[in-house]
Structures are given as C-alpha cells and as structure tokens.
Symmetry: C2
Amino acid sequence: MTREELFENIKRKKSFLCVGLDTDIEKIPEFLFDSDEDAMFAFNKAIIDATADLCVAYKPNLAFYESVGIDGWAVLDRTVEYIKEKHPDIFIIADAKRGDIGNTSKMYAKTFFGNMDFDTVTVAPYMGEDSVKPFLDYEGKWVTLLALTSNKGAFDFQFIEDSKDGKKLFEKVLETSKQWGGTPDNMMYVVGATKAEMLSEIRAIIPDNFLLVPGVGAQGGSLEEVCKYGMNKQCGLLVNSSRGIIYADDTENFANAAREAAKSLQEQMEQHLKNAGII
Amino acid sequence: MTREELFENIKRKKSFLCVGLDTDIEKIPEFLFDSDEDAMFAFNKAIIDATADLCVAYKPNLAFYESVGIDGWAVLDRTVEYIKEKHPDIFIIADAKRGDIGNTSKMYAKTFFGNMDFDTVTVAPYMGEDSVKPFLDYEGKWVTLLALTSNKGAFDFQFIEDSKDGKKLFEKVLETSKQWGGTPDNMMYVVGATKAEMLSEIRAIIPDNFLLVPGVGAQGGSLEEVCKYGMNKQCGLLVNSSRGIIYADDTENFANAAREAAKSLQEQMEQHLKNAGII
C-alpha cells in the first residue's frame, strides 16, 4: 500500500485507528472454545468483522501467536489472509520487533513479506543498517522502526545523549535511518503515546513519515496530545489500541463491545482530523 | 542448565563450540528431499548426530525456520526435542533477537521456555528493563542479551558515547542489565568475534558472565583473539560457527564434512583451554 492510498483511507474512513490483535488464548471468551472453529481465529474474525469500517490498520502481535506454537502461526496466517481478502484496504502490521545480521534479516523479510502478505513489520534498530535494509528491498512494503517506545524501559537507553552532538539515541535512530534509504514512502517509526511531549522534536526530524503510536488506553497515553504534537498534513499517525478494544468485554457480546470501543476512538479521531482541516 | 554444569561440559568435551543451526531450505543437500522425512529436520538430525560430541551448544536461528512457515516451526520444535532427548547435556540457544513491552516479552518467554525447552533466548536491549526481565522469571533459564554484535551495522549505534559518563551504548547495556537481576548465573551477552579487541574492556565490566560469540568463520573473526581477550577462569565463552560447519559440503557427505569442520574448531579450542590451564 502506498502512502497516498493510506492517506485516502484515513480521509474516507475518518479514522487513523490501528486495532492491535494481541489475541491471548487465555483471555478470549470461553464460549469460543465450544465451536469447531479454532477459537483464536474465531475471535480475530469477529473482532475484524466488527471493527473493519472503523480502522485503517490491524496489528497482530507475534508473541501472542508464537506462544501457542504451530497452531498460533496457522491462526496468524489465516488472519492475514482473511483481512486481505475481506478488507483489502486495510494496512497490516506484523508487530514482531525483529532485527538481525543482514542474511538473517533477509529471511525475516521473506517470512513477513514473501510468504505472508503483511504491509510492514516492526524492526528493532540496535543492530544497525544491515539489520534493517533487507526489509526495504520489497517494493510496496514498509519498515516500522522502533524509535521511542511506550514502555518504562524506554528510559534505559533511548534517551542516552551522544557526547559528539548531544543528540539522543532515538533521534540518532530517526536521522541515521534516513541514510539507509528510509523515506516517508517506505519507513514509519514507533513513537509511544506515553511520550507525546517528544513528538514536536520528532516531527522536526521526520516531518512527513507516518508514526505508529502505541500506548493510548491501557498504557495511559493521551490521543489529544498525540494529535496536537504529532499530526502532519497527511495525518501521519496510526494510533494503536489493543487491550482497550479487543478485551472491552469477555462475554458473547465481546465483538459488539469491541466495536463500541473502536467507534468511540474513531469519533474522537474524526474530530481531530476536522480540527486539523484534513477532512 | 547451571553455569557449573555448562563449565563441566566444556571441560569434559574439551570444547566451547556452539553450532549454529541456520538451516536454509534452499541450501541443504537436494537428496534430502527424496526421503519421507522432512528435509530440514533430516538435515538437522544428521548435523546433530555428527557433531554432538564436539560441541556444548546448538543455536537454531529462528528466522530460517519462520521463513518456511508452519512447517518450519514444526522442525524447530522437533529439533529442540531431539537434542534434549538424545543429548541432554547440550545447551540450546533460541537465536530469536526478541524484546518488547513487558506483557509481550512475557509471551515470548513462554514460547521459548514454557512451550519449548530452550535454555536461553537472544534478546535485543533497545526497549530496556521490562522487555528483558520476563525472560529472567524462568528458573534455570538464561537471557542472552545483545551487547556488541558482529555485523557492520553494530557501528551505527552501539558505539555511541553517553555525554554524561563517556561510556559507549554497549557498555551501558552491560552495566545496566546487572541492575535488572542479570547475574553470571542467568545472563550471557552476545559479543561478536569481529570486535575481539573490545573484549578486554568488556571483561572489565562483566568478568564472570558467559559470552556468546558469533562471527568466527564466515564473518571473519579470529578464535585466537577471542580467547586471548575474552576467556575467563570458567572459559566463559561459547563460540558459534554456523555456515562454516553446516554448509561445509552440499553432497551426501555433508554430515561428515560438518563433523570435520567442527572437529577442527574443537581441536583449536582444546589447545586454547590447555594454554589457559583450564584442562
């Protein structure tokens, strides 16, 4: 999917919501296990059917699928296929936090872009250029590079200031990744909503790139602050909510409750898009 | 496996070799596809049977298994089971470079330690404490944290010096991880053989921890330099070779050739252990 197509979807749907499919086999409603269908897939399918008109992206979190082994990978595979078939306008993010030496990252890129039809994969920057570039070799696919994450541990290393130029590690990641062929058309960055006050600074370095913003909801980030400091002319934001949507209810009503939670966020987003004159 | 047990295995086998199972479905000998057995598993089994007495660890590289989807995960599963059953004295490393916010890292830990019986998993430090600690919650299991990697991209960020204390990012990783409960009994570090000259400095910070050292062989690192600067009283090294061993030959003789390549490294290691007075 191109940047222009993503922006068109945002305007048409009046939403920049990404729904995180952190599908935990221990948290999904029990009645799903009574059916013949795989319970995790049935859960994803119901969430997708209930929210697809309200969001522009889904983000399966790989850990939750891997943790149930082979069956989990089968669910992941089917989920991506289901979204691509039923909702081809939706951007799909493999939240996998991969990154390894060149010949290994090439295999990860093949996994997510060659075998499965994800639009992007989250990549950790610690190992530098050759760990990231293989993901850029796929035309029409994106890298989503970790810059400033939403968790407490972000303060351990991401704010270290380089003695040479006073720049923080996450700023170095933003700047350096541009030299690897990362452009607003093939690279997004993870910036946590819990650090929204840093967004102005970040926008000064990467004015045009899309940002994947986790941390609104369960982690305490504010949508208003994210929009205030992070929105650009093309919106430039994909704001993720996982637990707040998919576990809004644990009864047979879970999909309706997920829709309500997604709808509430979409309506707030619509207002922010209007305030910014984007729609 | 405890540190003492690992050290005993090193002395008994006169080896600190780790064989990297970077099993590439496009590189394994063609004749393996003629049998009823899964070719990747047949390859791993033959390599393991040919090298188990010469090494103390195996390191499956997850990317290579994931890149063939569900079948690859099944091979990974069976490979770990096979090693644990036939060679219970071997330390098994999931080279997965994982790391995410706490509740997600917890799921990754469950994958590798709860469901599969790996002894350790490689973890990227970028996201800090809460991304690493869940892996330490498993008694008898280890974290193998990326510190100074063997690739060219290591120079992008790992050598950035903190303006506060002049310490490099990889040194901060070593020091900070000690505050997370990382000890020589539950935490190892990845230090690339291609940066062997940094090992003295690294040993000053973590004298007793084991180091997982990739980069000898195909990537150009020197075993002699690694031993000179990195060995401690308990050896403290697991030196990995992947391609140089498992792809030593691509005919029906591949397992013998792998054994010869492993044997050559083991003999050099034996000499280094003798020179250091460890055996």
